[in-house]
Amino acid sequence: MFDFSIVTKWFDALLSQTLGLPSFWTILIECVLIGLLVLTAYALICIVLIFMERKVCAYFQCRVGPMRVGPWGIFQVFADVLKMLIKEIFTVDKSDKLLYAIAPFLVMIASVGTFSFLPWNKGMHILDFNVGIFLVTAISSIGVLGVFLAGWGSNNKYSVVSAMRAAVQMISYEVSLGLCLICAVILTGTMQMSGIIEAQTGPWKWLIIQGHIPAIIAFIVFLIAGNAEANRGPFDLGEAESELTAGYHTEYSGMGFGYYYLAEYLNLFVISGLASAVFLGGWAPLNVGITGFDNLMNMIPGFVWFFGKTFMLVWILMWVRWTFPRLRIDNLLKLEWKYLMPLMLFVLVLTTCCVAFGLTF
């Protein structure tokens, strides 16, 4: 298994020892570089996701999707970005200018922040705190603020209604999301992202296999809650086009709206990435205990595994999105508070019992 930390260590040594920079400059240069890399990766993945969404959605609805710009429509996203960039950005009269302006950035911060926690490869974590999982849930909650402030700052009562609905939904589903992650923490015994993955390497060690029944339930609930958390259908109440024309970002034009759009897709990726990291082993290859097969699987680089698993989950979430109709707000809250949350509390106890009596693989 290729360990990416060799590269990072080499680079660190290059700056601090070969070039002899003081540690302040070393860290500064590294931070800037990492920041640039994260943002580039963010943009690239977003382009891929938007294109994928349109094609997958088209295929589920028995049509072809974008075909005009470029072969098979692959340049459609770039054309759309260009269009969005040249749109006029206006502000709304009598709106709260400050809140209106910073709301998209809050959403972006939450999304890039959680994005940075994803384990791409062995030794290739951008943020790897010893309370990683905990911090992910904390940072992702900033998004709620962004959504709510967007509605509040817009001076538009429909946006406020929509923002309240979105916020209520995101806050509610965060409960099950957190409980799912706690199940994973119980099973692996660590909160650190790299530790969680490390615990899943080895034959039949993916958490979903290791933790069998409780892990599978937690995994499914995580996907459902994550879908709701990312404000995507069938939980996309926040932007109920048919009822509210667009939702909390009605008053945003050009890139202001673009940020919400971006964040929505990246949240989808982040949720899938987290699910694959926490339950499907992240970059950990599929090992079955037969040496030849395991070695072959170990040859495949970790980030291929990670992207493979993540995009599979993204596809599944898109499948769900384009299958089910949008829920009503009371149904949505009922689902969370009457079904998912009690279920997850039960699963939490079940997981604890499994671990305590050594019933895991």
Binding site: Y59, C62, R63, V64, M67, W319, T323
Partner: protein
């Protein structure tokens, strides 16, 4: 779904219906797409039913004369005032009988709603709809047609009057340009 189920019964029923929905869309994902790639397929696989109401034309006899006697039944039948007929009375020098003579048959394609009432109203079998549908222009005035002046012969697309290519559903049409 009935609402008299228990808490767990409801969960079971919900999972069942959700799974059904997922199954339907998954099948749909792999079925051939029905989207027609329009400008690419206009000469190859485009099918337009012959009875499609594209625009109104005069029926022509062998000698390119038309049957319209300017009775204005069609004009009266049209709910949109799409048709405007101007005519004058003319005396036939041989028989001495007076007869209405058509000056102008104006048909505004931009107003027409393709209801076929005019064709139904005509007692002389003078007008019909053709399936030639490519009517887009940049200026509405270009849509005002004078049917008696033009002799309509075939559509703007090859063999469109026969319906174009045979109707095939579920063929991905782009590659067969």
């Amino acid at each position: 779904m009935e609402n008299n189920k228990s808490y767990f019964g409801e969960i079971g029923a919900a999972i069942k219906t959700l799974a059904t929905g997922m199954k339907v869309t998954l099948i749909e994902y792999f079925t051939p797409k029905v989207t027609e790639q329009y400008p690419e397929n206009r000469k190859t696989t485009l099918h337009v039913a012959q009875r499609h109401r594209g625009r109104l034309v005069f029926k022509r006899n062998e000698d390119e004369s038309h049957n319209c006697v300017a009775c204005t039944m069609c004009e009266k039948a049209c709910p949109n005032d799409t048709i405007k007929i101007t005519a004058h009375m003319e005396e036939d020098p041989e028989t001495g009988r007076k007869k209405k003579k058509l000056d102008d048959y104006q048909y505004d394609l931009g107003d027409c709603m393709f209801c076929q009432l005019c064709v139904n109203a005509c007692n002389f079998d003078a007008i019909e709809f053709t399936n030639d549908f490519e009517n887009s222009v940049f200026d509405r005035n270009k849509l005002v047609c004078h049917l008696d002046k033009e002799v309509y012969k075939g559509g703007s697309l090859p063999n469109i009057l026969d319906g174009g290519a045979p109707l095939t559903i579920g063929k991905f049409n782009t590659k067969t340009k």
